[in-house]
């Protein structure tokens, strides 16, 4: 009876192990074992290996050494009649996704850069827990678009301590002796004027590096006028001597987005003050 066994050596990965001549070389993975003896040149070649992590062990009968080796025998690529690329930059260390409402793609790592290949035209929303989401319209096959996500400093209760050190009133009180308070709620901070004259403020515990971002933005509900500012030092917060940049937002009952140009500033303390109002989110983009 003759069996025509398939030539498995024609498929799979090849691992060349260089070790002391004459030692026994053993590969194991998922219960499978392959063994060879290293030749006079110290080389043992294993072919037809499945993808994955193999444990390589050598022994001369007296001593043994082992190490894991990752074999990549299978590669994949996606083909489609429509293909476009969205080059995304996002805060490193964070996850990132892209979705058109039907298909959701996930960045392969947390490096902060992602060449996202999409196979559908449409509006793609790029999202990251550390950033406000952004949308981009993909309309043409072969299109390349770029999205640079911002960096949250505060968002609906989250203080992003790794960037800001947290948010505090310490160092942001004005020289006026009149009482005011800043209260942290689950989803916002509220500055409340409780008597007298003056403004209350809250801001980052640490100085924030702007990392080349050019715009500081905030969403506030300015019951009275509020000011978004960047400071060189935290106290006195109302002193023009240490104010790097500021922008006022007029009183309104509606949530309002305010923008401050900060492209010429490398770093600073970020603060918001006012007589009355709510702070919903603050970010750099």
């Amino acid at each position: 009876m003759i069996f025509n066994a398939p030539n498995s050596a024609a498929s799979g990965g090849t691992l060349t192990v260089t070790a002391p001549a004459g030692v026994t070389v053993t590969l194991t993975k998922d219960g499978k074992t392959k063994t060879k003896t290293a030749g006079s040149d110290g080389v043992a070649v294993f072919k037809g290996l499945a993808s994955g992590t193999w444990t390589v062990t050598i022994t001369d009968g007296n001593q043994t050494a082992s190490k894991p080796v990752v074999i990549t025998a299978d590669y994949s690529t996606i083909m489609a009649f429509f293909s476009a690329t969205i080059n995304v930059t996002y805060p490193s260390g964070s996850t990132c996704t892209a979705t058109d409402g039907t298909t959701t793609l996930t960045a392969p790592d947390t490096s902060g850069t992602w060449a996202c290949e999409v196979q559908n035209a449409g509006t793609w929303t790029i999202a990251c827990p550390a950033s406000p989401s952004q949308s981009v319209a993909i309309t043409e096959n072969g299109q390349t678009a770029s999205v640079a996500l911002g960096i949250y400093l505060y968002n609906n209760g989250a203080e992003f301590e790794s960037v800001t050190g947290g948010w505090s009133t310490d160092g942001y009180k004005t020289s006026y002796p009149w009482p005011w308070q800043a209260t942290k709620y689950d989803n916002y901070v509220e500055i409340t004027f409780i008597g007298g004259v003056g403004v209350g403020g809250i801001g980052t515990v640490n100085t924030v590096g702007f990392g080349g971002k050019t715009t500081l933005k905030a969403v506030v509900t300015p019951t009275a006028k509020m000011t978004l500012k960047v400071l060189q030092a935290k106290s006195p917060a109302d002193g023009t001597g240490n104010m790097l940049a500021r922008v006022d937002v007029a009183a309104s009952v509606d949530q309002t987005t305010v923008s401050l140009s900060v492209g010429a500033i490398e770093n600073g303390y970020v603060g918001i003050d006012g007589d009355n109002g709510k702070i919903h989110s603050v970010w750099l983009e």
């Binding site: 500021r246 922008v247 006022d248 923008s259 401050l260």
Partner: protein, 103 residues
């Protein structure tokens, strides 16, 4: 409070000139001319559109030159002011002592 002058791009100038608009602000009290002229001042009610298309509403005070350079200029200015005041105090002190000695 001091008077500064802004051009059509809202860049600040320390001195008046044709085409500039005078504004009163306390944002630059104690600041040297070099520091002032590295800033933009967008008055309340007006908007400025940056070259990348982002729109900013006033009242906004923000540097357009690298702030580190402006800070260095301001520190140099303040050191010069301090030296001048110190010299004046020394002159006053000398005059006082001369006056006392003459009594």
């Amino acid at each position: 409070m001091k008077t500064i002058y802004i051009d059509s791009d809202f860049k600040c100038h320390a001195a008046s000139a044709d085409g500039l608009t005078a504004v009163e602000t306390d944002a630059f009290d104690g600041k040297c001319d070099t520091y002032i002229e590295g800033y933009r001042y967008v008055p309340a009610g007006q908007t400025w559109t940056r070259s990348d298309g982002v729109v900013f509403m006033g009242e906004m005070v923000a540097p357009w030159k690298p702030w580190a350079e402006l800070d260095a200029a301001q520190q140099g200015y303040e050191q010069g002011q301090l030296a001048a005041v110190s010299e004046q105090l020394s002159e006053l002190d000398a005059a006082y002592k001369e006056g006392v000695d003459s009594l």
